[in-house]
């Protein structure tokens, strides 16, 4: 469990985040959204101790992150950065995956490495830097997953990926979440947030504007406007249609709503 208690962080006198209070329970899939500079990445880095709060506390399973080094917290928290090239540092994919396991002192490192290679379908002898952007992101994810962290933090995980790569990545993340891994995702892609996150935090200028179930968050247009965030296209369409159709946040729901409206004889 991750708890933020009155967390404030200042950089050179200016507050990056202010008085944040929220809890992420085990097994949740939480998205953090907001405009550039809203404090999303700061929040994610506070969670794994890369940043320490100026005041207040960030607790991981009841232990303040200030009491633990980030390299120790890495055993529990996996952090996928926007740029995978910062995480990759070994000449082969096999060594890359084994590296994270070696850092955590896993005794079954060799067997686990081979299992993850098979799971992702990687050729372990390949140079990770010769892979495509999407593949490099998957390699970085695989090396994190190999360690089996309790919490997975994703900072803009799909930036630079095409639709197919994006879906492959998110499907893997979703299956991890279904197996009990807590996922916190910083994201600019609202469609992705709507599709995968069950809970969403909206930030603006380092403060928490809204914390709620993702669908209800996207229907709170006043708060989203203040946070300079546009809801997903399908939600916007549903909102514009207003009371004439049932609320719909997926294509399937929209089709069902249109069918229901036709049956009731609602004029087009």
């Amino acid at each position: 469990m991750i708890q933020f208690e009155n967390v404030t962080l200042t950089y050179g006198g200016a507050a990056a985040v202010r008085d944040l209070n929220f809890t992420v329970a085990p097994g949740e899939f939480v998205a953090v959204i907001g405009a550039n500079g809203a404090g999303k990445t700061t929040v994610s880095k506070l969670m794994n101790g890369l940043l320490k709060p100026t005041s207040g506390r960030v607790l991981l399973d009841g232990v303040p992150t200030t009491a633990l080094r980030t390299s120790v917290l890495a055993r529990k928290i996996g952090f996928l950065f926007q740029n995978p090239d910062r995480q990759l540092c070994k000449p082969t994919i096999r060594e890359e995956i084994a590296f994270g396991l070696a850092l955590t002192g896993r005794k079954d490192a060799a067997a686990r490495t081979e299992a993850v290679l098979r799971e992702f379908g990687f050729d372990g002898s390949r140079d990770p830097f010769s892979a495509s952007r999407g593949e490099r992101q998957r390699i970085a994810l695989a090396s994190l997953i190999a360690v089996e962290p309790e919490v997975l933090i994703l900072d803009e995980p799909t930036t630079g990926l095409d639709y197919r790569e994006c879906m492959a990545m998110m499907a893997r993340v979703q299956s991890l979440n279904a197996a009990g891994t807590t996922v916190v995702m910083v994201c600019h892609d609202m469609e992705l947030v709507l599709d995968f996150a069950r809970r969403t935090l909206v930030l603006k200028d380092g403060t928490l504007l809204l914390d709620g179930e993702t669908r209800s968050v996207f229907r709170n247009t006043d708060v989203l406007r203040r946070a300079s965030v546009l809801p997903p296209q399908i939600t916007r369409l549903s909102l514009r249609l207003g009371d004439r159709l049932q609320p719909a946040d997926t294509v399937e729901e929209m089709e069902a709503a249109i069918r229901a409206a036709r049956q009731k004889g609602v004029p087009a």
Partner: protein, 252 residues
């Protein structure tokens, strides 16, 4: 010392100096550091460096740089104490004594290191790289491609420092103990980072080269410059002070 070469915008007396004068001033302070023998004079030169920082509105950066260099200096000072054998023993017995010459040599070394390292970095942080390359081409007749290469190399120092910092952050998040207090252990951990840093650096250089060529880099000549650089009275005063410091270095 993160971001210590980043340009700090402003309109201070140092910002207004001609870039060539700034280079001359920093070279003269460096020369005075190596010519001067008296520790008091070397301390005075460090004071001049801090004064430059204050005049350029980058005093915090100057103090940060001073503190960073001081940490390195302690290590170098101890090395001098341990390895200089000549002179009068102050502590212990030969051949394991700390001598007066060891103390003096160590003191000179660290004062010179601090005094000579700071001025160029401080003056570059109040100089736009475009002005630096401009003045090199216009006044010193350096071919533009070499001036551009030099200024790009300087500009890339903070960029690479930031990239290294980001890579270390990402590796720490994976469990690499960069957050250790042990500096030797930390140094050993940096070596494996050469690979990602090299990859990102080459990629960035390739992108920059492609962008420069797309913008007609190869067509640029000395006559292409729109801005003209002229010496002002402030430049003359700064040059005289610089020359005086070198003279004092020779005498002291």
């Amino acid at each position: 010392m993160k971001g210590f070469l980043d340009y700090k915008p402003g309109d201070t007396v140092l910002h207004r100096l001609d870039p060539l004068t700034k280079i001359f001033l920093s070279v003269c302070i460096c020369a005075a550091c190596f010519l001067g023998e008296e520790p008091a004079f070397l301390v005075f030169l460090i004071g001049c460096d801090l004064l430059l920082g204050a005049l350029g509105g980058v005093f915090d950066r100057a103090v940060g740089m001073f503190k960073g260099l001081l940490k390195l200096s302690i290590f170098l000072f101890v090395l001098q104490l341990l390895f200089v054998r000549s002179g009068v023993p102050l502590v212990g017995q030969p051949p394991f004594a700390i001598t007066d010459l060891g103390v003096l040599t160590g003191l000179r070394l660290v004062l010179r290191l601090i005094g000579a390292t700071m001025p160029l970095a401080l003056l570059l942080s109040v100089t736009q790289m475009s002005d630096l390359s401009g003045v090199l081409v216009q006044r010193l007749h350096v071919p533009y491609k070499y001036a551009f290469t030099l200024t790009t190399a300087i500009r890339f120092i903070p960029v690479f420092a930031n990239a290294l910092s980001a890579i270390m952050e990402a590796q720490t998040a994976r469990g690499v103990a960069f957050d250790t207090k042990n500096p030797f252990k930390k140094l050993g951990l940096i070596l494996p980072l050469c690979m990602p840093l090299l990859i990102s650096s080459v990629s960035r250089i390739h992108d920059t080269a492609a962008a420069a060529e797309m913008r007609g880099f190869t067509l640029r000549t000395r006559e292409s410059q729109s801005r003209r650089y002229t010496f002002q009275s402030g430049d003359l005063v700064a040059a005289l002070i610089a020359a005086a410091l070198v003279a004092a270095g020779v005498l002291l």
